[in-house]
């Protein structure tokens, strides 16, 4: 990885030397984020990735970040202005920017766009999503060891495939250790609603759950409820350990740096190709860390083994046999759910109690 980036830097430098008189020697990168860059959460994780790009290219890039922009016509105008201001590489940090971003990409074929969480692609427009389910599977294993009630609770944002697949991964991981475990899910239909998230977390605790999963909540709301309520808790994107010092199970972190750097590299090299970027542990994008000390060494070893298998490809979270909530076998033993099916998943595996909102 490191040698590759050195090579690319060299290439970029050479390029810069050749075209000394043009302005194109620095790349302007526009970043549009749905929420403020806080100390934790989604926008924070994206910004960390962008910082890695800055670090690599130094004066070679100028990054223009506009944060806290609601989806809608205003966001479209701001993207448009970013392009107009000469930003040649755009990072659109919310699925709500999809349709506006796609139109813009089609009008500006020379510019490259990466777009978080979406599903539409174009020649210069790549949606990117993390395979959170890989990390969630490992978390499920840890949770299975620590739960006494055998009930796990999830506070989740929207019932989109990205989050459904994560809940499934969590469930599969837990039940791989203890098949009696069940999972309850509350959909709050918001990325950012601390009050609702906390109420939901408390409801899950009241329902008997003793491990909580904060699925795509941009605030530490659920995490603090876990600490106060004595339940283990984990979350996505960035570590919130300081909000639950004694009950933090760990974090399924997203490290966007490798992907962002590679995308910028590709853009500079002129071979950016719009495609669904679905990135997991193999790509160093999904990273599981900050493990709780309460997890036994034995279990830690088991988790490490599974992790190694997933990275090597020997094992897949969605290996059959897979049974859905209705008890029907969807994938037989020996086969594996295809990527396309996971990307569009609209069903829960057995063990998830709550029905999926339709």
């Amino acid at each position: 990885m490191k040698t590759m980036s050195k090579l690319l830097t060299a290439a970029a430098l050479t390029g810069a030397l050749i075209s000394t008189t043009t302005q194109a020697d620095t790349l302007d990168i526009g970043v549009l984020l749905p929420s403020p860059i806080a100390d934790v959460g989604w926008s924070h994780a994206l910004n960390e990735g962008i910082n890695a790009v800055k670090e690599k290219y130094g004066d070679g890039v100028t990054v223009n970040v506009v944060e806290n922009i609601q989806e809608g016509p205003d966001a479209d105008r701001i993207m448009n202005k970013m392009v107009g201001d000469g930003n040649d590489f755009l990072l659109l940090g919310s699925f709500g920017y999809m349709n506006g971003g796609l139109k813009l990409a089609k009008r500006n074929p020379q510019k490259s766009f990466i777009h978080a969480s979406g599903y539409k692609t174009a020649a210069n427009f790549s949606p990117f999503t993390a395979k959170y389910y890989e990390g969630a599977y490992l978390m499920g294993m840890a949770a299975a060891e620590l739960t006494k009630t055998k009930k796990l609770g999830v506070v989740s944002a929207f019932a989109i495939p990205e989050l459904i697949s994560t809940i499934n991964g969590f469930t599969l991981g837990a039940r791989s250790i203890d098949p009696e475990i069940t999972v309850d899910v509350i959909w709050i239909n918001s990325w950012f609603d601390p009050a609702k998230a906390q109420d939901s977390a408390k409801a899950l605790l009241a329902g008997g759950a003793d491990v909580l999963f904060s699925n795509a909540q941009d605030t530490p709301s659920v995490v603090t409820v876990g600490e106060e309520g004595g339940a283990y808790v984990f979350n996505l994107n960035s570590s919130m350990k300081e909000y639950a010092p004694t009950k933090y199970l760990g974090v399924v972190k997203t490290d966007w740096a490798p992907f962002f750097v590679a995308s910028v590299d590709a853009h500079l090299a002129g071979n950016f190709e719009g495609q669904n970027q679905w990135l997991g542990m193999t790509d160093d994008v999904v990273v599981v860390e900050d493990w709780s000390d309460d997890i036994s060494a034995d279990m830690k070893a088991k988790i490490a083994a599974v992790q190694a298998d997933i990275v090597s490809g020997a094992r897949h979270v969605y290996d059959g046999p897979l049974v859905n909530q209705a008890g029907e076998e969807v994938i037989a033993a020996g086969t594996r759910l295809e990527d396309g099916a996971i990307l569009g998943i609209d069903w829960h595996v057995e063990g998830v109690n709550s029905p999926l909102p339709k």
């Binding site: 506009v66 989806e71 201001d85």
Partner: protein
């Protein structure tokens, strides 16, 4: 020292013209100070706010794209405010308008009929009016405070929108993302020029402005509304129905907001999604008052606020200003405008207090 405001007998006409310029000047001075403290480029920010919106054709069309819904909603709200009917729920009426209009392309996904757009406008208008009509009914039947009712109805409208987007109306091919299908071209207003988002819906607010001007300045119905607002006893004496004034005010606002909502989903958004109003329902209240509740004043106020918002978006990108700084600048402009306007119409006079009085008595 306590001061009180005393209305001036004759507000200087010349001053009224200078007011906006003075307000702009004051907010430039104060925000420049803030920008220096923040370490942000002052000139670039000012350029973003006041020049960039007019710098190229696209920006100008964007100003008018914002101008339309602001104008439409503010004109209707002003009619109600002049009749002292406090509808602050245009936001909710706009959402319902957007929802009802969206029903057409959601249920007739493949239709290419030329009636799509008219049907959407009709449904949007009816939806907005029905939503406002609830407040009118509760006000006239049970004397329920329309401020609370319209505000609460806005919250309900939002939840209804969320429900539809998560449930029955979500795009079947949209992987559960909370949004409807993208509307077909027949369900969209045609762009006025190629490559811009400004579309033919801009003519609706303009026509509506003329209609409101005729209503309030030339027509007996507007006179009746105004009497009801300025002297309710005189309205009763003359035999003008107060209930009718409530109905007319709210239905008019519901109509305008409904059409505005429809114009957004059939315009720049092109689908129904979680944020459809861009805050026009609330901004419309500011515009109405900024325009002194007068149909012509509101035209200028809506344009001013549109420029301010477009300028703000530019400042976000070009001057690297955080969104909160942009909002502070916009807020400063409004505050200075209103203060200067008040001081032109009123003068400050020290209120006499007990303390100063006792010193004056010599006995």
């Amino acid at each position: 020292m306590v001061f009180k405001l005393v209305k001036r007998e004759h507000a200087s006409q010349w001053m009224l013209l200078v007011t906006p310029l003075l307000a702009v000047l004051l907010s430039i001075v104060v925000s420049s100070l803030l920008l220096v403290i923040l370490g942000k480029p002052v000139l670039l920010t000012m350029h973003s706010f006041f020049i960039a919106p007019f710098e190229n054709f696209y920006s100008i069309t964007e100003v008018f794209l914002k101008f339309g819904p602001l104008l439409l909603i503010a004109q209707a709200l002003a009619v109600g405010f002049r009749a002292k009917v406090w509808n602050i729920g245009a936001e909710g009426q706009m959402i319902i308008g957007a929802i009802c209009a969206s029903a057409v392309p959601v249920y007739f996904v493949d239709s290419t009929s030329g009636w799509m757009l008219p049907a959407m406008a009709l449904l949007g208008a009816i939806g907005g009016m029905a939503w406002a009509g609830i407040a009118a009914f509760l006000k006239t039947r049970f004397n329920a405070n329309e401020i609370l009712v319209t505000l609460m109805l806005s919250a309900i409208a939002l939840q209804l929108l969320y429900y539809l987007l998560l449930g029955p109306w979500k795009d079947p091919m949209g992987f559960n993302f909370p949004q409807t299908v993208m509307f077909q071209d027949e369900a969209l207003f045609a762009p006025l020029f190629s490559g811009v988002r400004l579309n033919t819906s801009i003519f609706i607010p303009i026509a509506f402005t003329i209609a409101v001007w005729l209503l309030m300045e030339k027509h007996f119905a507007g006179f009746k509304l105004e009497v009801g607002g300025q002297a309710p006893d005189a309205a009763t004496y003359a035999g003008f129905s107060a209930k009718k004034a409530v109905w007319v005010s709210l239905l008019l606002a519901g109509f305008a907001a409904g059409i505005a909502g429809m114009s957004e989903v059939a315009g720049p958004i092109g689908q129904l999604q979680r944020s459809v109003t861009s805050g026009y329902g609330y901004a419309g209240i500011i515009v109405a008052y900024l325009g002194a509740l007068h149909p012509i004043g509101i035209v200028f106020a809506a344009f001013f606020l549109a420029v301010l918002q477009i300028g703000g978006d530019v400042a976000l990108v070009s001057a690297d200003l955080p969104i909160s700084a942009v909002q502070v600048f916009q807020g400063l402009l409004l505050i200075f405008y209103l203060s200067v306007y008040t001081l032109v119409n009123y003068r400050l006079q020290p209120a006499r207090t007990e303390k100063t009085a006792s010193q004056g008595v010599s006995s």
